[in-house]
């Protein structure tokens, strides 16, 4: 089966500085890919190439995804723009009942649907962005450091939610993280980036790869995944 999104030998430079060097990767349907790497490794650039926002200098991007959901690293809400949480959603999807249901699914209760976006807490805003990313039931879900700025409890509950949603939607996922206390064990594929792809493979392989250890060191705690649901075919796809 053809991969959902594919990069072949993609390179990108900014001002003579090579940021991405010969990146080749596949995002498969239904698979979770985690992209890790230190600051300045080119993660955001790679994400923007995968999203089609940035044209590579060399190499090509092939996308067979009909719809992509994107949760940006952060969303700056200008106070001058009066926008309720619900309106934020209906800007992306005209059916407000479906928008309400999606908000409820990510844990944002009815009472705050009419609240101005800029009054939401950090955690609520992350969930709102997640809701907007999934409102079209995308084939590919791209999450750029989704738990950034949350406390530990908030991080793990958001990760749990993302896990559940991925199982429900059965979509391909690309998750970016510079934080290694992360869902590596939930991933089908981990890509360790540092300009070029240092190593790539199953979480266990990557964890013991010399180039991974060279960048991150061996003493890395790995977030333990809570298996409170199954990934089998019995999952609902409504």
């Amino acid at each position: 089966m053809n991969a959902l999104v594919e990069l072949r030998g993609v390179s990108k430079a900014f001002g003579g500085q090579l940021v991405l060097d010969e990146i080749t990767l596949q995002l498969e349907r239904g698979a979770i890919t985690t992209l890790i790497g230190p600051n300045g490794a080119g993660k955001s650039t790679l994400v923007r190439v995968i999203l089609g926002l940035l044209k590579p200098d060399r190499g090509e991007r092939v996308s067979r995804a009909n719809s992509i959901g994107y949760m940006p690293q952060r969303l700056h809400i200008d106070q001058t723009l009066p926008l309720s949480l619900l309106r934020f959603m209906t800007l992306a999807h005209r059916d407000s009942a479906h928008c309400r249901a999606t908000l409820a699914r990510v844990g944002l209760a009815d009472e705050i649907h009419q609240q101005p976006l800029h009054q939401l807490s950090g955690g609520q805003l992350q969930r709102a962005m997640l809701a907007r990313a999934i409102v079209h039931r995308p084939e590919l879900l791209v999450l750029d450091e989704p738990v950034q700025g949350l406390d530990i409890a908030g991080q793990s509950s958001l990760y749990r939610l993302i896990d559940e949603l991925v199982a429900e939607l059965n979509c391909a996922v690309l998750m970016v993280s510079h934080d290694l206390h992360v869902v590596m064990s939930a991933s089908h594929q981990v890509i360790c980036l540092n300009g070029h792809i240092c190593c790539q493979g199953m979480p266990e392989q990557v964890r013991s790869d010399p180039s991974y250890l060279g960048i991150f060191g061996p003493a890395t705690a790995i977030y333990n995944h809570h298996h409170d649901h199954s990934h089998g075919d019995e999952c609902q796809h409504d």
Binding site: L51, L53, Y70, P72, L75, I77, L81, P82, L91, R132
Partner: protein, 260 residues
């Protein structure tokens, strides 16, 4: 007398209606300085049109458009921050316009009218042109309303969701340049941005949705035009500044009425 006043008010209200929603985008997208730059370059357009005997309306619309494109190009080349680029373009265009106006010589251009507007001097033909352009801009804004809000919210998110960001952004730029061409008659080059941002800023206090804010801004801009024209008629003050003074007063009232 009545017809003169009716023509003036008709033109002023047409511009005010458009200035409402467009002004909201200027506020939301923090384009106030950008609006100034385009407005100042419109003066250069007027000077060029007189100097080379070109059509006035076309020149005053085309020069801001050219400046907008130049700005996009300069920004992509990088190296200087946007506000510096805007400052260079804005004041270069204004200075070049003023120099050119001086070179043209005696009284062929009413500089005060260009700088501060002369609503009471607009002709019937100009009125229809203003109304026509206003209708085109309003139609454009109505058609592109959602994509415009989406690119304002976050351009990359909008692009991933399938919005043609560059096209929508360009449409907004064209609409702004067109409005400046017609608003110059009303409030003049120096005060166009005021008519865009003051009613919109006042409307922010009264609104909980983008649409409400656009409607309030239109309403407040219309009230400013009516009040300013009345003031100019009664007290023989210049129309453009009078309109802006009324707008500022409405802003103060709206701020005082503030509901959070």
């Amino acid at each position: 007398m009545f017809e003169l006043l009716a023509t003036a008010l008709g033109g002023g209200l047409a511009v005010a209606l458009v200035a409402g929603p467009l002004g909201c985008f200027v506020v939301w997208r923090r384009m106030a300085y950008f609006g100034d730059t385009l407005a100042h370059s419109a003066l250069l357009g007027v000077a060029l049109s007189v100097f080379f005997s070109l059509n006035l309306s076309v020149a005053t619309a085309l020069v801001p458009l050219a400046i907008a494109l130049l700005l996009v190009w300069l920004e992509q080349r990088g190296g200087l921050p946007l506000d510096t680029l805007l400052g260079i373009l804005s004041h270069s265009a204004l200075a070049a316009g003023l120099v050119l106006v001086a070179l043209i010589g005696e009284l062929r251009v009413d500089l005060m009218a260009l700088l501060f507007g002369d609503l009471l001097a607009i002709t019937r033909a100009e009125l229809w042109l203003i109304v026509g352009v206003a209708v085109v801009i309003l139609a454009l804004l109505a058609l592109l309303w959602r994509p415009l809000i989406n690119i304002t919210l976050n351009a990359e998110l909008a692009a991933v969701e399938g919005t043609a960001v560059t096209a929508v952004r360009s449409a907004l730029m064209v609409a702004t340049a067109l409005l400046i061409a017609i608003a110059m008659k009303i409030v003049g080059v120096m005060l166009i941005t005021a008519l865009l941002i003051i009613p919109a800023a006042a409307a922010r206090r009264l609104s909980t949705t983008p649409e409400q804010m656009a409607l309030w801004a239109s309403l407040l801009a219309c009230l400013s035009v009516i009040g300013g024209t009345a003031m100019a008629w009664q007290a023989d003050t210049p129309v453009g500044p009078s309109v802006v003074v009324v707008a500022s007063a409405l802003f103060v009232v709206a701020t005082a009425l503030r509901r959070s």
